[in-house]
Protein backbone atom coordinates (compact mmCIF):
# COMPACT_ATOMS: atom_id res chain seq x y z
CA UNK A 1 0.00 0.00 0.00
CA UNK A 2 1.55 3.28 -1.10
CA UNK A 3 1.29 5.91 1.64
CA UNK A 4 1.53 8.59 -1.02
CA UNK A 5 -1.37 7.40 -3.13
CA UNK A 6 -3.41 6.78 0.01
CA UNK A 7 -2.84 10.37 1.17
CA UNK A 8 -3.52 11.64 -2.33
CA UNK A 9 -6.88 9.83 -2.43
CA UNK A 10 -7.84 11.03 1.05
CA UNK A 11 -7.02 14.63 0.15
CA UNK A 12 -8.90 14.62 -3.13
CA UNK A 13 -11.93 13.04 -1.47
CA UNK A 14 -11.83 15.09 1.71
CA UNK A 15 -10.81 18.44 0.32
CA UNK A 16 -12.31 18.81 -3.16
CA UNK A 17 -11.30 22.03 -4.92
CA UNK A 18 -14.81 23.14 -5.84
CA UNK A 19 -15.71 22.88 -2.13
CA UNK A 20 -12.69 24.81 -0.88
CA UNK A 21 -13.25 27.63 -3.34
CA UNK A 22 -16.89 27.55 -4.46
CA UNK A 23 -18.08 30.24 -6.88
CA UNK A 24 -21.60 30.29 -5.51
CA UNK A 25 -23.30 30.44 -2.13
CA UNK A 26 -26.83 29.80 -0.89
CA UNK A 27 -29.03 32.77 -1.73
CA UNK A 28 -29.66 33.41 1.96
CA UNK A 29 -26.04 34.54 2.27
CA UNK A 30 -27.48 37.97 1.79
CA UNK A 31 -26.23 40.31 4.49
CA UNK A 32 -23.19 42.38 5.36
CA UNK A 33 -22.75 40.31 8.54
CA UNK A 34 -21.14 37.60 6.40
CA UNK A 35 -18.21 39.95 5.74
CA UNK A 36 -16.74 40.12 9.27
CA UNK A 37 -14.87 36.83 8.92
CA UNK A 38 -13.08 37.92 5.77
CA UNK A 39 -12.37 41.34 7.34
CA UNK A 40 -10.67 39.46 10.19
CA UNK A 41 -8.54 37.54 7.68
CA UNK A 42 -7.66 40.82 5.95
CA UNK A 43 -6.57 42.30 9.28
CA UNK A 44 -4.48 39.20 9.97
CA UNK A 45 -2.71 39.54 6.61
CA UNK A 46 -1.92 43.16 7.52
CA UNK A 47 -0.66 42.07 10.93
CA UNK A 48 1.68 39.55 9.32
CA UNK A 49 2.96 41.99 6.69
CA UNK A 50 3.59 44.85 9.15
CA UNK A 51 4.93 42.37 11.72
CA UNK A 52 7.46 40.94 9.26
CA UNK A 53 8.66 44.47 8.45
CA UNK A 54 8.92 45.38 12.17
CA UNK A 55 10.82 42.15 12.90
CA UNK A 56 13.14 42.73 9.95
CA UNK A 57 14.27 46.12 11.23
CA UNK A 58 14.09 45.51 14.98
CA UNK A 59 13.13 47.35 18.18
CA UNK A 60 15.45 50.35 17.78
CA UNK A 61 13.82 51.07 14.43
CA UNK A 62 10.21 50.98 15.60
CA UNK A 63 11.00 53.27 18.55
CA UNK A 64 13.59 55.54 16.99
CA UNK A 65 12.87 56.07 13.31
CA UNK A 66 9.79 57.94 12.11
CA UNK A 67 9.06 55.29 9.48
CA UNK A 68 9.60 52.60 12.10
CA UNK A 69 7.11 54.22 14.43
CA UNK A 70 4.63 54.48 11.57
CA UNK A 71 4.88 50.73 10.98
CA UNK A 72 4.47 50.27 14.73
CA UNK A 73 1.25 52.30 14.41
CA UNK A 74 0.09 50.21 11.44
CA UNK A 75 0.67 47.03 13.46
CA UNK A 76 -1.14 48.50 16.48
CA UNK A 77 -4.25 49.50 14.51
CA UNK A 78 -4.21 46.26 12.52
CA UNK A 79 -4.34 44.41 15.87
CA UNK A 80 -7.26 46.57 16.98
CA UNK A 81 -9.02 45.91 13.65
CA UNK A 82 -8.30 42.18 13.91
CA UNK A 83 -9.99 41.90 17.30
CA UNK A 84 -12.76 44.31 16.32
CA UNK A 85 -13.81 42.23 13.32
CA UNK A 86 -13.19 38.89 15.01
CA UNK A 87 -15.46 39.75 17.95
CA UNK A 88 -18.24 41.05 15.69
CA UNK A 89 -17.83 37.89 13.57
CA UNK A 90 -18.23 35.86 16.77
CA UNK A 91 -21.45 37.77 17.60
CA UNK A 92 -22.71 37.04 14.08
CA UNK A 93 -21.95 33.33 14.37
CA UNK A 94 -23.66 33.26 17.76
CA UNK A 95 -26.87 34.97 16.63
CA UNK A 96 -27.06 32.66 13.62
CA UNK A 97 -26.59 29.58 15.78
CA UNK A 98 -23.88 28.82 13.24
CA UNK A 99 -22.81 25.63 15.04
CA UNK A 100 -26.01 23.80 14.05
CA UNK A 101 -26.27 20.81 11.71
CA UNK A 102 -22.84 19.33 12.39
CA UNK A 103 -20.88 22.57 12.52
CA UNK A 104 -19.77 22.26 16.17
CA UNK A 105 -16.11 21.84 15.27
CA UNK A 106 -16.23 24.97 13.11
CA UNK A 107 -17.42 26.93 16.15
CA UNK A 108 -14.79 25.32 18.38
CA UNK A 109 -11.96 26.14 15.94
CA UNK A 110 -13.18 29.74 15.82
CA UNK A 111 -13.34 30.14 19.60
CA UNK A 112 -9.89 28.55 20.00
CA UNK A 113 -8.53 30.99 17.40
CA UNK A 114 -9.99 33.86 19.44
CA UNK A 115 -8.47 32.61 22.71
CA UNK A 116 -5.06 31.93 21.16
CA UNK A 117 -5.15 35.38 19.53
CA UNK A 118 -5.55 36.93 22.98
CA UNK A 119 -2.34 35.20 24.11
CA UNK A 120 -0.65 36.31 20.87
CA UNK A 121 -1.62 39.94 21.49
CA UNK A 122 -0.36 39.65 25.07
CA UNK A 123 3.07 38.45 23.91
CA UNK A 124 3.08 41.40 21.51
CA UNK A 125 2.26 43.91 24.23
CA UNK A 126 5.17 42.69 26.37
CA UNK A 127 7.54 42.71 23.37
CA UNK A 128 7.09 46.40 22.55
CA UNK A 129 10.00 47.50 24.78
CA UNK A 130 8.30 50.55 26.27
CA UNK A 131 6.60 51.42 29.57
CA UNK A 132 3.48 49.57 28.49
CA UNK A 133 5.50 46.36 28.15
CA UNK A 134 7.18 46.84 31.52
CA UNK A 135 3.86 47.39 33.25
CA UNK A 136 1.92 44.61 31.47
CA UNK A 137 4.79 42.16 32.05
CA UNK A 138 5.18 42.92 35.76
CA UNK A 139 1.43 42.78 36.32
CA UNK A 140 0.84 39.80 34.08
CA UNK A 141 3.54 37.73 35.77
CA UNK A 142 1.46 37.41 38.97
CA UNK A 143 -1.48 35.98 37.04
CA UNK A 144 0.79 33.57 35.13
CA UNK A 145 2.62 32.55 38.31
CA UNK A 146 -0.61 32.06 40.28
CA UNK A 147 -1.59 29.14 38.05
CA UNK A 148 1.92 27.76 37.57
CA UNK A 149 2.25 28.88 33.94
CA UNK A 150 4.89 31.43 34.94
CA UNK A 151 7.34 28.63 35.70
CA UNK A 152 7.91 28.01 31.99
CA UNK A 153 6.24 31.01 30.30
CA UNK A 154 8.26 33.91 31.73
CA UNK A 155 6.63 37.17 30.65
CA UNK A 156 9.64 39.10 32.05
CA UNK A 157 11.92 37.35 29.57
CA UNK A 158 11.92 39.49 26.45
CA UNK A 159 13.75 36.92 24.33
CA UNK A 160 11.19 34.23 25.11
CA UNK A 161 8.16 36.50 24.61
CA UNK A 162 9.52 37.94 21.37
CA UNK A 163 10.10 34.44 20.01
CA UNK A 164 6.56 33.49 20.92
CA UNK A 165 5.17 36.64 19.35
CA UNK A 166 7.03 36.73 16.04
CA UNK A 167 7.08 33.03 15.31
CA UNK A 168 5.28 30.49 17.46
CA UNK A 169 1.99 32.30 18.02
CA UNK A 170 1.48 33.64 14.47
CA UNK A 171 2.06 30.15 13.07
CA UNK A 172 -0.46 28.70 15.53
CA UNK A 173 -3.05 31.40 14.76
CA UNK A 174 -2.56 30.99 11.01
CA UNK A 175 -2.92 27.23 11.35
CA UNK A 176 -6.09 27.56 13.40
CA UNK A 177 -7.54 30.02 10.92
CA UNK A 178 -6.70 27.56 8.16
CA UNK A 179 -8.57 24.77 9.96
CA UNK A 180 -11.50 27.10 10.65
CA UNK A 181 -11.74 28.23 7.02
CA UNK A 182 -11.43 24.70 5.69
CA UNK A 183 -14.26 23.58 7.97
CA UNK A 184 -16.41 26.54 6.92
CA UNK A 185 -15.86 25.69 3.26
CA UNK A 186 -16.34 21.93 3.60
CA UNK A 187 -19.53 22.17 5.61
CA UNK A 188 -20.94 25.31 4.02
CA UNK A 189 -22.83 28.10 5.70
CA UNK A 190 -25.57 27.05 8.09
CA UNK A 191 -29.20 27.18 6.95
CA UNK A 192 -31.46 29.81 8.49
CA UNK A 193 -33.60 28.82 11.45
CA UNK A 194 -37.13 27.70 10.62
CA UNK A 195 -39.67 30.32 11.51
CA UNK A 196 -41.71 29.24 14.54
CA UNK A 197 -45.51 29.19 14.67
CA UNK A 198 -48.35 27.17 13.05
CA UNK A 199 -47.67 28.51 9.57
CA UNK A 200 -44.13 27.23 9.85
CA UNK A 201 -42.37 27.45 6.55
CA UNK A 202 -40.02 24.55 6.41
CA UNK A 203 -37.61 26.38 4.20
CA UNK A 204 -34.51 25.29 6.03
CA UNK A 205 -35.35 21.76 7.00
CA UNK A 206 -32.41 19.43 6.98
CA UNK A 207 -32.98 16.95 4.18
Amino acid sequence: MSWTSSLQRKLSEGLPYDQLLPDEQPAYVHSYVYLFGVATIGSFVLLVVTGVILAAFGPQWWHGAAVGHFFNSLHFWAAQAFFFFMVVHLWTAFFQGAWRDGRGLTWVSGVVTFLVSIVTAFTGYVSQQNFDSQWIATQGKDAMNSVGVGAFFNVLNFGQMYGFHVFIMPVVVAGLMGVHLTLVRLRGVVRPYDLPGPSKRRVSEVA
Partner: protein
Protein backbone atom coordinates in the same frame (compact mmCIF):
# COMPACT_ATOMS: atom_id res chain seq x y z
CA UNK B 1 -2.71 61.40 22.09
CA UNK B 2 -0.06 60.51 24.68
CA UNK B 3 -1.63 62.54 27.49
CA UNK B 4 -3.41 60.47 30.15
CA UNK B 5 -6.84 59.47 28.93
CA UNK B 6 -10.24 60.67 30.04
CA UNK B 7 -12.29 58.08 31.91
CA UNK B 8 -15.99 57.48 32.41
CA UNK B 9 -16.95 56.32 35.87
CA UNK B 10 -20.32 54.67 36.57
CA UNK B 11 -20.44 52.85 39.89
CA UNK B 12 -17.71 50.22 39.75
CA UNK B 13 -17.38 50.60 36.00
CA UNK B 14 -14.44 52.67 34.82
CA UNK B 15 -13.69 52.88 31.13
CA UNK B 16 -11.45 55.03 28.98
CA UNK B 17 -12.95 57.15 26.22
CA UNK B 18 -10.94 55.24 23.61
CA UNK B 19 -12.15 51.83 24.77
CA UNK B 20 -15.72 53.12 25.00
CA UNK B 21 -15.54 54.40 21.42
CA UNK B 22 -14.20 51.06 20.19
CA UNK B 23 -16.92 49.06 21.94
CA UNK B 24 -19.67 51.46 20.81
CA UNK B 25 -18.35 51.23 17.23
CA UNK B 26 -18.44 47.44 17.37
CA UNK B 27 -22.11 47.51 18.35
CA UNK B 28 -22.89 50.17 15.75
CA UNK B 29 -21.08 48.34 12.95
CA UNK B 30 -22.82 45.08 13.89
CA UNK B 31 -26.23 46.78 13.92
CA UNK B 32 -25.52 48.54 10.64
CA UNK B 33 -24.37 45.31 8.99
CA UNK B 34 -27.69 43.72 9.95
CA UNK B 35 -29.95 46.65 9.12
CA UNK B 36 -28.43 48.15 5.96
CA UNK B 37 -30.13 46.51 2.95
CA UNK B 38 -27.79 44.18 1.08
CA UNK B 39 -27.70 44.64 -2.69
CA UNK B 40 -29.60 41.90 -4.50
CA UNK B 41 -27.96 39.85 -7.22
CA UNK B 42 -29.29 37.32 -9.66
CA UNK B 43 -29.32 33.71 -8.58
CA UNK B 44 -29.96 30.38 -10.12
CA UNK B 45 -31.86 27.38 -8.89
CA UNK B 46 -29.81 24.35 -8.01
Amino acid sequence: MDAPAHYFHWGFILISTANLIVIALMILVFAAAILVPYPSGKGKQR
